[in-house]
Amino acid sequence: MGKTYQKPEALSDQHTHYCPGCTHGVIHRLIAEIIDELDIRGRCVGVAPVGCAVLAYNYFVFDFQEAAHGRAPAVATGIKRVRPDLFVFTYQGDGDLASIGMGEIIHAANRGEKFTSIFVNNAIYGMTGGQMAPTTMPGQHTTTSPFGRDVEDVGMPLKMAELLAALQTPAYITRQAVIKPKYIVKAKKAIKKAFTYQLEKRCFSFVELISTCPTNWAMTPNESVKWAEDTLLSYYELGEYKTPESLSGGANAK
């Protein structure tokens, strides 16, 4: 009765610099587990963002490139186009992907680039110290929205999965979460599905993952999980927004 559980090979032994309770670590582990299960470590190239995960290359045991802020999808495009036999994924936060890098992610998705983007949405800028992100919630306090995000002033938070699902090019677009085991298990399935689509050279794949940032949310890790579940998941609905099989965008969502 019970199961064994080991650190995946594709994950290095190095302790991460992430804050206690930060679910970046969970996502790193899921990616590494899947890379082991698909046995693709030898031809894998990760593309790290500028943000908390800028040091991701220290935590994996395969080739990595570090992109400039927001440009990971362009870097991944460059790698994948010249070496389509390599397995390429970008790992980006909400400031990186949904703010400065919006142009790159939309065009990479719209071209149907055959790599996978892992999008960590924790509704805040982590590395730079808790500023407002495009995904920061209405009324959410950050170091640059001290009175709470004012949607009259800066608009509503961006829903990346829905945004990308509206593109006509076939793709796999899903939003999952990594804040509790029941979500994490589903998130792993979704990431594996995305990676498989890439291995089959089928389409661009995008996995948005609702994640926590206890330090900059000024909450304990457990309070962060609760707030994420109550507040983030009510706005950022989980589900598959698009699969290469489905023609229209949102029709088969959730």
């Binding site: 031809r43 490139q65 790698i79």
Partner: protein
């Protein structure tokens, strides 16, 4: 092919890259060099190469970064405003020590400026348009033939230094047609880059990942990385300075320093003056970085030489380097025009004789 063909500069640049063994091109349209992309959009598929038009020059720079980081030969072409957008990328590519070739078919600036020839990007190219301590190896062709040759030399140079190389042409060189021959002996095989490229561990049967990055949070590490870059630039100054002396044998009283399209006009002016018994010499830098410092100093130091003048299609940029090299030995002047007007030989003759 060993024979000459009449070709537009932009297209010759594209073809030369293929002849050099570079089959990967990412670009964005911008006048006056969109013909390179148009040409390669059908030529690259013919040779099984990669052609992609990106969403912006910013994206282009990072597609170049990714492709170069994966160990592939890769290049792009653009023009002034586009190169400005790529400047952050150039800094990253230099910082991460990646070989890549860029071409700037310079147009009038600043801002949207104009679309006619200019040399107003000299500072941007030679003093580093992006942030941090880095340099580009900068070559400046005066003809379609030289642009093709420099393109073919750019790839081995980029690989020798693991540093971006940029060819500084201009609207004239890009747009005009001239006979050109592709010197296939200039083609080289790519160097082995298994020790740094992210080309997949299994393909270099290694268990050690390669990381392409420019982040060095530890000050000693970043200083170390910058010293590595500095050593490259010192080596460039020793091994890869290129310049053409013109009419330097006679007792010239005036020395011109000029490059690219402008230097061709100066050659005609020098020839015309020589017929009139007026000797004028010229140093034509073919590499703008590394700059031919010693050559300019020695040329200025010649007994007969009384004055030096930098003639460029800008408001005076290379003149600062000329002044630096002449070290006050002779008065250094400047003449230039902007906006796309290229001074005539007669104008150059007037300017030089009136010094």
């Amino acid at each position: 092919m060993g024979k000459k063909v009449l070709m537009k500069g932009n297209e010759a640049i594209g073809e030369a890259a293929i002849r050099a063994g570079c089959l990967n091109y990412f670009a964005y349209p911008i006048t006056p060099q969109s013909e390179v992309a148009e040409y390669l959009s059908h030529r690259m598929p013919e040779v099984g190469g990669v052609f992609l038009q990106a969403e912006s020059e910013v994206a282009v720079a990072y597609m170049i970064y990714g492709a170069a980081g994966a160990g592939a030969r890769v290049f792009t072409t653009s023009s002034s405003p586009g190169i400005s957008l790529m400047s952050e990328g150039l800094s990253y590519i230099a910082g991460a020590q990646l070989p890549a070739v860029f071409v700037n078919i310079v147009r009038g600036g600043p801002g949207l400026g104009g679309i006619l020839p200019s040399q107003g990007d000299y500072f941007q190219a030679t003093k580093g348009g992006g942030h941090g301590d880095y340099h580009l190896l900068v070559m400046a062709p005066e003809s379609v033939q030289e642009a093709a040759d420099m393109m073919m030399r750019a790839f081995p140079l980029a690989e020798k230094y693991r540093n971006p190389v940029i060819i500084l042409g201009d609207g004239l060189i890009g747009q005009m047609m001239e006979p050109v021959e592709f010197h296939d002996h200039l083609r080289t095989d790519p160097v082995n880059n298994n020790h740094w490229a992210t080309n997949g561990m299994q393909f270099r049967n290694s268990s050690k990942p390669n990381i392409v990055k420019s982040l060095f949070l530890d000050p000693d590490e970043l200083n170390e990385n910058n010293l590595i870059l500095k050593a490259k630039y010192e080596r460039m100054k020793k091994e890869d300075i290129l310049f053409e002396p013109y009419n330097m044998d006679g007792p010239y009283q005036k020395l011109i320093v000029s490059y690219g399209t402008m230097s061709r006009v100066c050659k005609t002016a020098i020839d015309n003056l020589k017929v009139k018994g007026i000797e004028v010499g010229m140093i034509r830098p073919q590499t703008l970085f590394p700059f031919p410092e010693t050559a300019v100093f020695e040329a200025a130091a010649k007994e007969s030489c009384k004055a030096v003048i930098s003639i460029e299609l800008s408001m005076g940029q290379m003149v600062e380097d000329v002044q630096r090299c002449v070290q006050g030995l002779r008065p250094v002047h400047w003449y230039g025009e902007c906006g796309g007007n290229v001074p005539t030989p007669e104008k150059v003759m007037d300017v030089v004789t009136s010094l």
